[in-house]
């Protein structure tokens, strides 16, 4: 972060005093930044507002109406939100969203940190890291397709488990297990992603800090706690925010694991994103866009609150080294 140069004595002397002292005595760099702020920021802001903010505002507006997208809107006031309040399926969806967020997040980060420490000691670390990262790049539909074959009772996973002596493996593809399977797949793909990032961040920690800790008599765990964790904290906290915003919105994964021919997955496996989708794109009824946008607003509020909390919790002094 750059320091603000507000008053440089040298420039003040050169320019001489004048009524507009504060402006004139700006450093040229500061002036540059001030003048270029709006011209540089405007195009991006314009696109963002038109393509993103405006639709969200429209969606928020719609959440107070009953609308099927085709007929005129019918005013409902807060009725949509009342429905969400009463709807047990929405409660389940919210719970599931939080479960994915918290449980999934904790597990992902625990594994990512553990993997980071393990990977640092391995040969061919970069190759392993790249391979582990790859699942992030794969479209969710591919997982659904592959899972149908790989996890079927006659498929390779069960065959391997039988060979290892486990005769009654769980029913991977059962509708009761959609949620764990989705979590598992999400954790698997995300772990690679976050491991790669955290590992690259941990790599930047200077070696001499570890040496110093070792000389002070720290064992591996203590070194982790006292050196690695604090130094990588900034990276970890940004990853936490990224996880929050991206895990709330997964819906394709649930759709491919739990949906069948023409149906949505059963309601116990829904998260808020799927609830929104189910209301906005029903199979054989009129869309309930008002309800869908209301649910989306609730989800957005949830994310905003958690993000703010997270940033508060994880804020620390930057460690200079």
């Amino acid at each position: 972060m750059t320091a603000q140069i507000t008053q440089s004595p040298r420039i003040g002397k050169v320019r001489g005093d004048s009524p507009r002292r504060s402006r004139r005595s700006e450093a040229p760099l500061e002036r540059l930044h001030r003048r270029t702020f709006w011209p540089f920021a405007a195009p991006a802001l314009l696109f963002y507002i038109v393509l993103f903010i405006a639709p969200i505002a429209f969606a928020a507006y719609t959440s107070f109406y009953k609308w099927d997208g085709l007929s005129p809107m019918k005013d409902r006031g807060l009725n949509n939100y009342r429905i969400l309040w009463l709807d047990p399926v929405f409660h389940t969806a919210l719970t599931n969203t939080l479960k994915i967020l918290i449980v999934g997040g904790v597990v992902t980060f625990a594994i990512a940190l553990a993997l980071t420490m393990v990977l640092r000691e391995m040969n061919h670390r970069l190759f392993a890291r790249s391979v582990l990262f790859f699942p992030t790049l794969v479209n969710a539909m591919v997982f659904g397709i592959a899972a149908g074959f790989l996890f079927s009772p006659s498929g390779p996973v069960d065959e391997v488990l039988h060979a290892l002596g486990w005769q009654t493996p769980p029913q991977w593809l059962s509708t009761e297990n959609i949620f764990p399977m989705v979590m598992g797949t999400l954790i698997w793909t995300s772990t690679g992603f976050y491991t790669a990032i955290i590992m690259a961040g941990v790599d930047q920690i200077p070696q001499y800090l570890y040496e110093a800790a070792e000389l002070d008599g720290c064992n591996a765990w203590q070194r982790f706690r006292n050196v690695t964790l604090p130094m990588a904290w900034e990276v970890i906290s940004v990853c936490a925010v990224l996880w929050t915003v991206s895990s709330v919105n997964i819906f394709q994964l649930i759709l491919v694991f739990g949906g069948s021919n023409s149906n949505l997955p059963p309601a116990n496996s829904w998260n808020t994103a799927l609830y929104v989708y189910g209301e906005a794109f029903p199979q054989a009824s009129a869309p309930e866009l008002g309800l869908a946008t209301a649910a989306a607003m609730v989800a957005l509020l949830l994310v905003a609150v958690i993000t703010v909390l997270l940033r508060r919790l994880m804020r620390r002094e930057r460690i200079e080294y």
């Binding site: 009953k66 099927d68 997208g69 085709l70 007929s71 409902r76 009725n79 949509n80 009342r82 429905i83 009463l86 709807d87 047990p88 399926v89 970069l126 190759f127 790249s130 659904g144 899972a147 149908g148 079927s152 009772p153 029913q171 991977w172 593809l173 059962s174 509708t175 009761e176 739990g258 069948s260 021919n261 023409s262 149906n263 949505l264 059963p266 309601a267 116990n268 189910g278 209301e279 794109f281 029903p282 199979q283 054989a284 009824s285 009129a286 869309p287 309930e288």
Partner: protein
């Protein structure tokens, strides 16, 4: 990892350049050329993909139509996703002039919002080359089976393909022949057939464990056999209709299937189409589905297979599904589209649906494919009905029915628990509907 970089780079480079070049030329204009010939034109979004047999039949008809009338048809073979695209398109005033889908989907996406055109005028049109009207070759029972839209009419879809839902099996399977000499007329008889099959080591029913629709057809039919109409059952805001004795009988009968072990052992543990494949390979006896299942498994069944269908015992009316043309109200070239519908109803054109696409047509003078003979018989009944997914709202299906039924079908809840769960969920559902 870097060894493949050179070829990868080259591939990426060429692909990018090619794509940019092609991309620029291809997306220059998305508006179709309006009526190059004097006849005009219309846009048609089809639910079939380009290589599906129905698409081939329709494409042949389109070519013949254009040659005869000079009307250009701008067809997009959109696939099943057309149902996701039609709503936004109509909302944005970019609706096609003609599209097709399952009647229930048309109802849900456009009909119930009053955006589907009433096609009764088409019924009065004369079929080119024949001296009859469209309405005279399409039995009225197909049209009346379609649930009414918000304008109160059933004629928002003119069907060109009809399917029926029932229990399909291989009549040439020796185990089946030994267990069942003729379709059972009582539920006990059906269970008897199941037991006989089970004794021979062949599971009675193949069932995709995750699909609450095909398995729900057992329930739908069973309720019907016991005199209960599901849509009335679902519409009751107090839930008291679930206490009717017919409901309890139906649920208990279904429970016999689950607890008697008559369903393929792995049914809860697979994804579609694993169980359909099992059934097609003679690893299970019965499979409840729509009659398009014959087209779905045509490449997998052995040559000795003899497809047959029966309705569950006690059922006199088959559930029918109609697929056909619909015109959005906001369409701009309505009359051209209507002419095409009438054109396609010609025996010469429509028969391709039977001979090439392996499905049944509404016209009585086009014979059904041989493997669907028993389905045609069921469709000869004087009145037809539609299955439950057409008459209950999607929200109800997803929130009240789907999870609870799957829990029951997988044996996690008993009959009594299922009824109680449905009842309370239904009451809560209607409370939240504003």
């Amino acid at each position: 990892m870097g060894r493949s970089s050179k070829t990868a780079t080259r591939f990426l480079g060429i692909a990018t350049v090619a794509a940019l070049a092609l991309g620029v030329t291809s997306c220059s204009s998305s508006a179709p050329a309006a009526g190059a010939k004097s006849g005009g034109s219309f846009t048609y979004w089809s639910m079939w993909s380009k290589d599906e047999p129905q698409a081939k039949v329709l494409q042949a008809a389109i070519t013949a139509f254009t040659a005869k009338t000079g009307i250009t048809v701008n067809v997009t073979w959109a696939g099943r996703n057309v149902s996701k695209e039609i709503g936004p398109a109509v909302a944005a005033n970019k609706a096609p002039d003609l599209w097709d889908q399952n009647a229930g989907t048309v109802l849900g996406t456009l009909g119930s919002e009053g955006q589907a055109l009433d096609l009764s005028p088409v019924l009065a049109m004369t079929i080119p080359g024949e001296n009859v009207t469209v309405g005279s070759v399409i039995p009225a029972k197909y049209l009346t089976s379609q649930p009414k839209d918000s304008d109160g009419t059933s004629n928002y879809v003119i069907p060109y393909e009809v399917t029926a839902e029932g229990i399909f099996y291989n009549a040439a399977d020796p185990n089946m022949q030994a267990a069942m000499s003729s379709p059972p007329t009582t539920w006990a008889g059906f269970i008897g057939v199941c037991a006989a099959l089970k004794a021979k080591g062949e599971p009675c029913i193949a069932s995709e464990g995750e699909d609450s629709w095909t398995n729900g057809l057992y329930f739908d039919y069973d309720l019907l056999a016991n005199g209960v109409n599901w849509s009335a059952l679902a519409a009751d805001k107090t839930g008291a209709s679930w206490d009717a004795p017919g409901v309890a009988t139906a649920v208990n009968e279904m429970e016999q299937l689950v607890s008697g072990g008559y369903i393929v052992p792995t049914y809860t543990d697979t994804k579609y189409p694993a169980q359909e494949t099992n059934w097609a390979n003679d690893k299970a006896g019965f499979y409840m589905d729509g009659s398009y299942v014959t087209a779905e498994v045509s490449k997998e069944i052995p040559a000795t297979w003899k497809m047959a269908m029966m309705l569950p015992p006690g059922v006199t009316q088959a559930d029918v599904g109609t697929f056909g043309f619909s015109i959005p109200k906001k369409a701009k070239n309505v009359s051209a589209a209507e002419q095409f519908i009438a054109f396609f109803m010609q025996k010469s054109q429509l028969s391709g649906i039977s001979t090439i696409a392996d499905n049944i047509t509404p016209r009585a003078d086009i014979p059904a494919p041989t493997e669907l003979a028993s389905v045609q018989q069921a469709l000869n009944a004087p009145t037809l009905r539609v299955d439950f997914s057409n008459t209950i709202p999607s929200d109800y299906y997803n929130k009240v029915y789907n999870q609870n039924f799957l829990d029951f079908w997988h044996g996690k809840t008993t009959a009594a628990q299922f009824i109680a769960a449905m009842k309370s969920a239904q009451v809560t559902y209607w409370q939240t509907q504003g």
